[in-house]
Amino acid sequence: MVFKKILVPVVGSEADEETMKLACRLAKKDKGKVWAVSVVAIKRALPLDAEIDSEIRKAEDVLNSVESIAEEEDSEVETDVLQAREVGPAIVDEAVERGVNLILMGITYKKRFGQFSLGNVVPYVLKNSPCPVMLYQQ
């Protein structure tokens, strides 16, 4: 499989660093490109273009840190902050628009009501993604 375009959604979790490294190595092998996106979910009581400084700053910090990881890996990465109502549809839509070959998502082990849970975003992306999805669990 050739991964020329890889989309890495990042959230600022422990898994981001290793996921980003993996994405850079995969992309480098195929002379591809990596896009890292951080999605800010905006509540429905606010307009979609509402600028919530604390959230945007948090997303930019996350992207700055993945940019430095890519620099260490000697890879090129393009980063973007997206504002959307729901994280899952925003990731899938971004993948469709960019025509990516792979979505690489980092996840951490989480429990909800005593059971292992992937949350809402990962299952949505797995179900609706137009391309292969790889999960990296820290």
Binding site: R44, A45, L48, S54, Q83, R85
Partner: protein, 483 residues
Amino acid sequence: MSESWQPKPGDRIFRPRRIKRFRLRRVLGIPAVFSAGYGNVGSSIYYALGIVALVAMGATPLALGIAGILFIFTALTYAEGTAALPEAGGSASFTRHAFGNTAGFIAGWALMLSYIVTISISAFTIPPYLGFFWEPFKASPVIGTFASIGIVFFLMVINVIGIRETSFINVGATLIDILTQVSLVVIGFVLLFDPSRLWQSMLDHWPSGQNLVLGIALATIAYTGIETMSQMAEETKKPEKSVPRALILMIVAVLVIFAGISLVSLSAMSPEELATEWARDPVAGIAFNLPIEIIRTILKPLIAVLAGTILLIATNAGLIGISRLAFSQGTHGLVPPALSRVHSRFKTPYISIIVFSLIAIAILLPGFFATDVFANMGALYAVGSLLAFMFAHASIIGLRIRKPEMERPFKVGWNIMIKGREIPISALIGLASTSTIWIIILITQAYSRWVGLGWMVVGLIIYFILRKTRRKPSEEWQIKRRK
């Protein structure tokens, strides 16, 4: 520059902030925009029919029909405005672009009134429908009003905390709503429709000329949800194409269903019954009067649950709409900054949600004592929304004159040329008729006149205080032009 240049320790490194701070990810398509719009417009049939019948009596279908024609003009105006300016503010946004901040504020403030009354009126009509399950909800004004206040309070808390709203429920409820309304119309036509009897009943209860005009005025509230679709434009994919298409789809759906339901309602009961016993829950009245027992048994609880759900969604949509609008106005300095303050933990505009919910509750309070509170609320709703529609029509005309070169992905046809500018006839008729109806309501309805105008005066005072106290840029930072 020397090629051997290397940063030295102590060199200042400036990492510029991203110029484009964020991109908006719009994912909604035509079905989602249509269902959001229909969810709002379709919910109004559950109360508008009763309010119109209160004054228009036998001429209720005619009043709804004439208001429906105005609705087509208004929808076309919104389609052009929204396709050109897909922003959160709706008609307030069009007005700001066409006539500047002060007019933008007035339109936004009027729209806020209409949103507040949407919250009150939708919450006020939920208990009568739920009266199927527990009679006092419908029979007792105290219990009914208390339940309505409880609903607004509950939604206020939920919206402050910001629980995720699943769009699936919205879309699902709208779909079931359309299906039920269509089945009710079909069943009603098959079982009840008798043109000669209906005609006779309409003639026997024909209203006075003044009441007919007032009925048309009140019927406009059936179509006010159009603003919601305009607000949805900001999160719609390719809004320039999908919003006009969704609006046209809604015009057809709404007109067909409203015409059907109003005719069926007058076939099922007399205008007197519709205007008294079933004024607050007219659709339940249709189900109650169906001649076949089994259909009645199925439809009565279904309509009670469905109307309750749809009206609850409409109440919530009003609350969400007003907080978005207040935030959008706040970013342009048109309302006090506190209204656009976001809660540090919940990330919701909590002050605006609480303030507007409390005002909606205050509008519900007369429900404990007054009997005509329902008609008053309807007229007040019309005052706010008609003012917003007037501004929308005027803005579309204003933009055609002032910014003829502006990109208009959807342009209303049938124009007349005035001084080299294309002016849409539909917007001209829309502006003239909405203004006339607005003036009629102000003249004939004392409650709406004083509360509506009072609201606007309070808004203008706040606006001018805001403008006066807004910090002006200090001299030091102003770039002075050389003479």
